[in-house]
């Protein structure tokens, strides 16, 4: 095996940062040889996860494996190698009137990463997670076999690989369903919400809207807790918007650009920013027509925004609570955060639909994502939140985890035994392992 130097590698939140070898490949043949030559490794796409799920001493880096294999415009089906980014896919399909049926908040993740984390978008309550739109995939198993998985063939493996965090093998390629669009604009309705109750009512009354998400202010107390902005979106039909609407959009674009100067990271700045954000909605519900990038990927406009948090990095804490416990639970969690004095920068709330595969994150209920700069006391505070979340029957998103305990993980993902049975079969020697999987005990029995 040739000698490859070690590099410092971290995922999007810059924590943890480790020395690792990044093994690249460009063809299926090279992938097979590579996997065969390594005794322990984990796939890594564009490193847009927050934490250690794609970190290990030896990393199989996929972004050079990025060819389109087939595009059927009539049937709206796309097949690509797994290292291709959603960005490249969108560049190719949008001009042909097609879009991804599910997309995360950034274009810069790979197809393989989107499947392995079974990512969700603003339409999860209606359209499910990314895996639901995967028709079939080719998996290179730790044993060196290439197997075709779908709902019809190797179905059990198929469901477990969607959300399987790279632990059952390397996804080589996938066929996915696309959706037709008539324009590149979204008709967005922004509604200011007084408090958490109001916000949740909005989510529930608008359950039939395609896209919904809310930004909420965690600093406000008492009856005002949870005031924020609720945003709904639908794809514009052709002819639905006029050039007048577009001009208006350019002038008064309601979209808040998420520019985050350093000062905003302290409480005063945060309050000012939150007020400013809230003001945009003060005027009452507002209709606007953002384009796809403004609506789905506002953070992509600020390259490397993760660096605002400095070299120490930050943590994103994303959990979901079952719907019946969400209202009470969110209040408890907010109270806890406020009492700790460690305030998150961004808080994004979303109502999710039911769960898919055994390790897939979404379950029916509310998910909240919080960004915290790393500082003393954070770890203890989050451990306390872990307890709250799991006592309420909730769970934490593996793609955003760098620190949860094995015990909490087991409580959050009760179907883990189903997953481990497959792991035992496909990877008895634990060839596929990440820092995260070792921490969480996500391994075949003899370890």
């Amino acid at each position: 095996m040739e000698n490859l130097p070690e590099l410092l590698v971290a995922n999007w939140n810059n924590y943890p940062r480790i020395n690792a070898r990044l093994w690249e490949f460009r063809t299926e043949n090279q992938a097979v040889k590579l996997l065969d030559s390594l005794s322990r490794c984990i796939p890594r796409g564009l490193g847009r996860s927050y934490g250690d799920c794609s970190l290990e001493k030896n990393i199989i880096s996929t972004p050079d494996f990025k060819r389109f294999i087939a595009l059927d415009q009539k049937q709206e089906i796309l097949e690509c190698e797994a290292g291709i980014s959603l960005d490249q896919i969108l560049r190719t399909i949008i001009p042909r009137g097609l879009f991804l049926p599910v997309t995360p908040g950034t274009r810069h993740v790979t197809l393989g990463g989107a499947i392995a984390s079974d990512v969700h978008g603003k339409n999860h309550h209606l359209h499910g997670a990314f895996g639901r739109h995967v028709l079939s995939l080719l998996l290179l198993t730790p044993g060196g076999e290439v197997i075709d998985c779908s709902r019809e063939k190797n179905a059990e493996i198929f469901y477990a690989v969607c959300g399987g965090m790279g632990l059952l093998g390397l996804i080589l390629s996938a066929r996915i369903r696309l959706m037709p669009i008539q324009s590149t604009y979204i008709s967005q309705l922004t509604i200011p919400a007084e408090n958490l109750d109001h916000l949740m009512d909005l989510f529930e009354t608008h359950e039939q809207s395609t896209y919904s998400v809310a930004w909420l202010d965690l600093l406000s107390r008492g009856r005002n807790f949870g005031h924020g902005l609720f945003m709904l979106g639908e794809h514009c039909l052709s002819g639905e918007i006029t050039s007048k609407d577009l001009r208006r959009r350019e002038k008064f674009g309601i979209n808040i650009p998420f520019f985050m100067p350093g000062w905003i990271m302290n409480e005063h700045g945060l309050r000012a920013f939150n007020n400013l954000y809230h003001l945009r909605g003060k005027s009452g519900p507002g209709r606007s027509f953002p384009d796809l990038d403004d609506f789905f990927y506002p953070l992509d406009k600020v390259h490397n925004w993760n660096r605002f948090y400095g070299r120490k990095g930050f943590l994103q804490y994303q959990f979901v609570l079952p719907k019946e416990h969400s209202r009470l639970g969110l209040e408890k969690i907010q109270a806890h955060i406020q009492a700790s004095g460690i305030l998150p920068f961004l808080a994004v709330l979303k109502l999710l639909g039911p769960q898919a595969g055994p390790l897939s994150f979404p379950l029916q209920g509310y998910t909240l994502a919080l960004d915290f700069p790393i500082k003393p006391g954070l770890s203890a505070m989050l451990s306390a939140l872990d307890r709250l979340v799991h006592n309420l029957g909730g769970r934490i998103y593996l793609a955003k985890d760098a620190r949860m305990s094995k015990l909490d993980f087991r409580r959050g993902y009760p179907e883990i035994s189903r997953f481990l049975e497959l792991k035992n079969k496909l990877d008895p020697k634990n060839k596929m392992a990440s820092l995260q999987s070792k921490r969480l005990g996500l391994c075949a029995k003899p370890y």
Binding site: T27, I69, T92
Partner: protein, 244 residues
Amino acid sequence: MRKTVLILGAGSDMARALSAELAEGGYNLFLAGRNVHELSKDAKDLEIRFEIQAEALYFDALDTNSHPGFYDHLNPEPFGVVAAFGVLGDENLARRDPLEWQQIINTNYSGCVSILSLAANRMEKAGEGFIVGISSVAGDRGRAANYVYGSAKAGLSAFLSGLRNRLCRSGVRVITVKPGFVRTKMTRDLDLPSRLSATPEEAARDIFNAILSNRDVVYTRWMWRWIMAFIKHIPERIFKRMSI
């Protein structure tokens, strides 16, 4: 109608990047090389991304007997031809092993002369087209480290210069590309100085721009033109003692 460009050695990293530039520029492509299995996947990828037509073809630069048949079968006849294949070889081995120096010379020099002569004759008749030969700064002056490779590239540079001279009046352009360092499979094991090294994408952009503009000889990265001008002017009695 779209014009077609034939890329020889289409699996080379520089060629792959150039294929994307050409496809984006609206050219259809023949991707020719030894690994047809991968080249056909590349072709499909380019077809989908850029809505052009691309086809993979088997081509071995060393098998010069096959070249006339290969060129005859191209349909449509290419408007442009890019010769990107090449081998760096093992210079130390080439001192002892005739097979090694023959492989270096036959690939980098004879292979190009063979296939580009065929292309030149067709294009001369058609009265249009372009030929791109990827030579090297190593051909500008022989150095102890890689003079067999360098001499083959020197031969190629002279061949391209003569071809350009011959075809100038018939409206066929000949472009000599002289890369300095490019980060590709060929140089994977070398420790390249970062300021002097191009990515395959940068090199491809330089080559594509040369095709669009009226350049005859292009160095990539650009500073190599001046570096080589300097190196060529070092008097031989000094140069022979140097180790660069």
